[in-house]
């Protein structure tokens, strides 16, 4: 206790001076950070990069929290303490990242991975792992004996020291210190980290907590948030941040390099822009009815006595939307219905079922690229296996029955009538396995007693399936339908590989995500691509909402 008091000399200054100093510190800190954030945002003539945007937004948030801390501490409120702890915790994390970056830590880790993967370091790492295994693995139901834990610890220690020495720990540490001393920015980050830790320690101390009226529950809440913080910070920086950034970008004409004007809703207006023009004659050229510099012909509608031409500012958006919805309408049932029946078959207690379950699941774990390439070869109209079997089958039938059925020689990937269907078949084949496993899990939760009772009551297997299996499988079916629909609406890899990134032939396999990719990463219209991404999000959201509503209705009808 005496030692702690010596370490914490500030407490000898008395609460008024300490709190006044802390409030002043936070006030200055907040003002500086807000000035930095606002100044950065205002003075930038260019659209911010994601990293700069996050940094400036972070400065604003921390600055605001710092002001809250300053006011709270001045008023002797526990909110001031909480805000101060959060501010210094965030600054400590930022300082560590800045320090690591200034010292090339991330590059160093890459090099370490290369070094450690072979030779003596690898051997020593193996020794370390052996020690860990000795220390932790229970060979019987009894806990690991003390002697083995001790030997394991010793082996781990030898391995750990061996790894460190074989990697040149001493030299490395000296280099690190030299790097630190030579880099002013690293020293600044280190100073910030030390100050943050010191002030965290000060604010966490019981006397300060008592001066600010913090109770034990407040401390427990803060500890809870501390444990939540890795996930929360990861979510904010790697998910919510980019998400909001893309929303912001969707209102600009950013090209990722130079252009960066705010265009408001123009990107959305461009995607949805349609015009309907009456035609003098049904085949009147589009160039006569539309301003073809702005609009493109999307479709013609022929009504009795009058034809209309519908033009779109971005016809590819509408085509991709149509292709995506058609793909989903075909791929979802094709990957869900067979999966259900397959699951029922695989749920039977027959020999070899485990092997079959594995076999059907393999396509789901296979890489999409590999699968797509193999299907691309199989679909080749001349030398592909699919047409080969069709030809052989037709030849066999013709020879057997004396008929003259022509060989269709389907151009699976070259004919725009078949190309999307080809992708549907391939995708459904790949998704069936995963859906089957989900259904199988659902089937195994249905009590067997229900089937036994139904059998006793004279229900045949078909009746059992429709009146027991299907209703009790409804939650699983709903989950499978929702995930399969989302997967189908976001289809990209398959069409990208199959069409070599073009969405062809023509525009027959152009889906929304592929169109988004082409705009964002081939033409570098990042602003428009972001708008397309948000439109796709709304489509998926509405689709999922619709399915939820239907599920709720179906559930309530069943329960009633």
């Amino acid at each position: 206790m005496r030692l702690n008091r010596r370490l914490f000399l500030l407490s000898d200054l008395g609460p008024n001076r300490v709190l006044a100093s802390l409030a002043l510190w936070h006030g200055v800190q907040g003002a500086l950070l807000i000035a930095l954030g606002v100044g950065g945002l205002v003075s930038r003539t260019q659209l911010l990069s994601l990293v700069h945007g996050i940094a400036l937004a972070g400065a604003l948030v921390v600055g605001f929290l710092s002001v809250v801390a300053s006011i709270g501490i001045a008023r002797r409120s526990h909110i001031g303490r909480a805000a101060s702890l959060v501010v210094h915790y965030l600054l400590f994390i930022a300082a560590l990242i800045g320090l690591a970056s200034a010292l090339d830590l991330f590059k160093g880790l890459d090099v370490l991975a290369d070094y450690a993967a072979e030779g003596v370091p690898f051997l020593m790492a193996f020794v370390f792992m052996v020690g860990y295994a000795l220390r932790t693995i229970e060979l019987s139901e009894r806990p690991v004996p003390r002697w083995r834990r001790r030997i394991g610890s010793a082996v781990m220690l030898v391995g750990g020291v061996g790894v460190a020495l074989s990697l040149g720990l001493v030299t490395a540490l000296l280099d690190w210190v030299a790097k630190l001393l030579q880099s002013p920015s690293a020293l600044v980050w280190l100073a910030l980290a030390v100050i943050s830790v010191f002030l965290l320690r000060v604010m966490w101390r019981d006397p300060v907590a008592a001066w600010l009226g913090a109770r034990r529950t407040h401390g427990e809440q803060l500890v809870g948030w501390l444990f939540l913080s890795p996930n929360l910070l990861g979510f904010l920086f790697f998910f919510a941040g980019p998400l909001l950034f893309s929303l912001y970008v969707s209102f600009t004409n950013w090209d990722a390099f130079n252009r960066r004007d705010w265009v408001g809703l123009e990107n959305y207006a461009r995607a949805f822009g349609l015009v309907v023009q009456p035609l003098r004659v049904p085949d009147q050229p589009a160039s006569e009815a539309l301003d073809v510099r702005t609009y493109s012909e999307l479709m013609r509608v022929h009504l009795p006595g009058q034809s209309f031409l519908i033009g779109a500012r971005d016809r590819l958006f509408w085509i991709s939307l149509g292709n995506t919805l058609l793909f989903s309408a075909l791929a979802v049932p094709l990957s869900v219905v067979p999966a259900l029946f397959l699951a029922v078959l695989l749920n039977m207690r027959l020999p070899g079922m485990r092997l079959y379950r594995t076999l059907y699941f393999i396509p789901s774990v296979a890489a999409v690229v590999g699968v797509a390439l193999i299907w691309q070869w199989m679909y080749n109209s001349q030398v592909g296996w699919i047409n080969y079997f069709i030809t052989e089958g037709i030849n066999f039938i013709n020879a057997l029955l004396g008929t003259d059925i022509p060989d269709p020689q389907i151009r699976w990937l070259a004919d725009s009538s078949y190309a999307l269907l080809s992708v549907v078949i391939m995708s459904a084949w790949q998704w069936i396995g995963f859906n089957t496993v989900l259904f199988l899990a659902g089937l195994q939760t249905i009590p067997r007693e229900l089937y036994e009772a139904a059998t006793v009551d004279g229900a045949n297997p078909r009746q059992q399936f429709f009146h027991i299996t299907l209703p009790l499988l409804a939650p699983t079916t709903f989950y499978v339908l929702v995930t399969a629909s989302i997967q189908a609406l976001q289809v990209f890899d398959q069409v990208f590989i199959i069409s070599n990134g073009t969405g062809g032939p023509g525009t027959s396999t152009l889906t929304m995500t592929l169109n988004l990719y082409q705009n964002g990463f081939q033409s570098f219209r990042q602003g428009y691509a972001s708008a397309l991404a948000w439109i796709l999000f709304v489509v998926i959201f509405l689709f999922t909402l619709f399915q939820f509503r239907r599920q709720r209705k179906a559930s309530s009808a069943y329960e009633s």
Partner: protein, 449 residues
């Protein structure tokens, strides 16, 4: 033994030591610069810290290995540590990834890009003007390279003049030929295209005749095959005297009489089933011995040289314009505008385009050196597979149209729109008359940017 129970602080300390040692683990030392060949000025001693990254798009691992060995050699020559990164894969379009890396500031110092993309990269401000460095380099001259690529590589979009700037140097050039399945052609009793070419009788009519005769073998045999991108169909448009753009390259020319004539000829081949369906990859059936003539560039030679049937190449047939309408394909080594070592990056580009380095790449058989001169031709003609290599050079000699960027519009947008409408035509979705009415509607928007 109590210390062996590892308190959380000991564990944290051990992890911290690891992390600290990680940040200081020394990178592999750069190789010592080798002595320069006699007569050459020694390379300036470079700082140990200087590392240049460079990238190409090799077609396969063997080609990537050739570039890696070249990287080692050039590294010794210019005294800089080089890291070669083979780019491109089945899932990652080379240019898309490159531009994304440029946007995020992680792109290599020097990289190769196709000729069509020069304008897009220049106008986005991604490339460094190398003219000041070239001007100081003894022996350097734009005239050492083919003039068509150099026109675009020295074009200044700000002034509209050529020769003022230097965006890069061409790595190699290539032209189209027809790869022939001689066994199928003999079996069909068709005349030998190589003999017809020698006799000056290799034109569209003769080409169609050979395709018909091979196709008449029946089954899944096809007379002709090409892949679905702008090069193959563009060659037919060129051969008829047309092309994608007008002379000033600022308007769509797909609906000109000549361009339509070229496409009409091609459409006839597809409509009558003489060709592998448009959109199908024609290389697998050709390699399976089911296609008589397959149109592709020099880069296809290593793959095709492994087939088991008798094969050779012949130049493209001459069209109504009196020329074969071939392309002069090219790509260039360019320098990232944000490189920290512009002068060394230029040295790397210069070294990579020296004759002996180009000869090493050409020895793979995938491309033709981009430097001009009889000596280069002689070297190329010695290269495997020792077939009719002259056919490639004939393509270069017959007024080829240089693959070129679109300085007044967006080539990716033009290509995408043109590809879709040509695909509709050649797969029979629209007629030639319909094509003539609408073909330029969408591609023309690429000029509006």
């Amino acid at each position: 033994m109590r210390f062996l129970t590892f308190s959380p602080f000991v564990r944290l300390g051990a992890i911290a030591l690891w992390v600290l040692s990680a940040c200081a683990v020394p990178a592999p030392l750069p190789q010592q610069p080798a002595q320069p060949p006699a007569g050459e000025a020694p390379a300036a001693p470079a700082s140990e810290e200087v590392v240049l990254r460079w990238r190409t798009r090799p077609d396969n691992k063997e080609e990537a290995d050739v570039y890696a060995s070249i990287s080692d050699e050039v590294s010794k020559r210019i005294g800089v540590k080089l890291i070669y990164e083979p780019g491109g894969s089945e899932t990652a379009s080379y240019q898309d990834v490159l531009k994304t890396e440029l946007a995020s500031g992680t792109a290599p110092d020097v990289f190769w890009i196709p000729g069509t993309d020069i304008a897009d990269f220049v106008e986005r401000g991604l490339l460094l003007d190398l003219r000041p460095f070239a001007a100081k380099t003894p022996g350097y001259s734009d005239d050492n390279f083919y003039p068509e690529p150099m026109f675009h590589l020295t074009y200044n979009p700000a002034t509209g003049k050529t020769g003022e700037v230097l965006w890069g140097l061409p790595r190699d050039v290539s032209t189209f030929v027809l790869y022939l399945n001689l066994d199928l052609i003999n079996e069909a009793g068709a005349p030998d295209p190589r003999e017809l070419a020698k006799a000056g009788k290799w034109d569209w009519a003769a080409f169609e005749e050979v395709a018909r005769k091979v196709n008449a073998l029946g089954g899944d045999i096809k007379g002709y095959g090409m892949n679905a991108w702008w090069g193959p169909y563009g060659a037919f448009m060129n051969a008829a005297g047309g092309g994608f753009f007008n002379k000033e390259r600022n308007a769509c020319n797909l609906t000109s009489k000549e361009s339509l004539e070229g496409l009409a000829f091609l459409k006839k081949l597809y409509d009558e089933g003489l060709a592998v369906p448009y959109g199908e990859d024609s290389e697998p059936p050709f390699r399976a011995g089911k296609v008589g003539m397959f149109q592709n560039g020099r880069w296809a030679t290593p793959g095709i040289s492994t087939v088991t049937f008798n094969w050779d190449v012949v130049e493209l047939p001459k069209g109504p314009s009196g020329h074969m309408g071939n392309w002069l394909f090219w790509g260039a080594y360019v320098v990232n505008k944000n490189t920290k070592h512009p002068e060394l990056a230029w040295k790397l580009v210069d070294a990579l385009t020296q004759p002996e380095i180009q000869a090493k790449v050409a020895a793979r058989g995938t491309n033709i050196p981009s430097r001009r001169g009889e000596a280069v031709f002689e070297e190329f003609l010695k290269i495997l597979p020792e077939k009719n290599n002259q056919a490639f050079l004939n393509g270069l000699a017959d007024q080829p149209t240089a693959e070129g960027p679109l300085w007044t519009g967006s080539w990716p947008d033009f290509d995408r729109a043109m590809g879709a409408v040509v695909s509709d035509l050649l797969t029979g979705k629209i007629t030639l008359e319909e094509f003539a009415k609408i073909a330029c509607d969408e591609p023309s928007k690429a000029f509006n940017r």
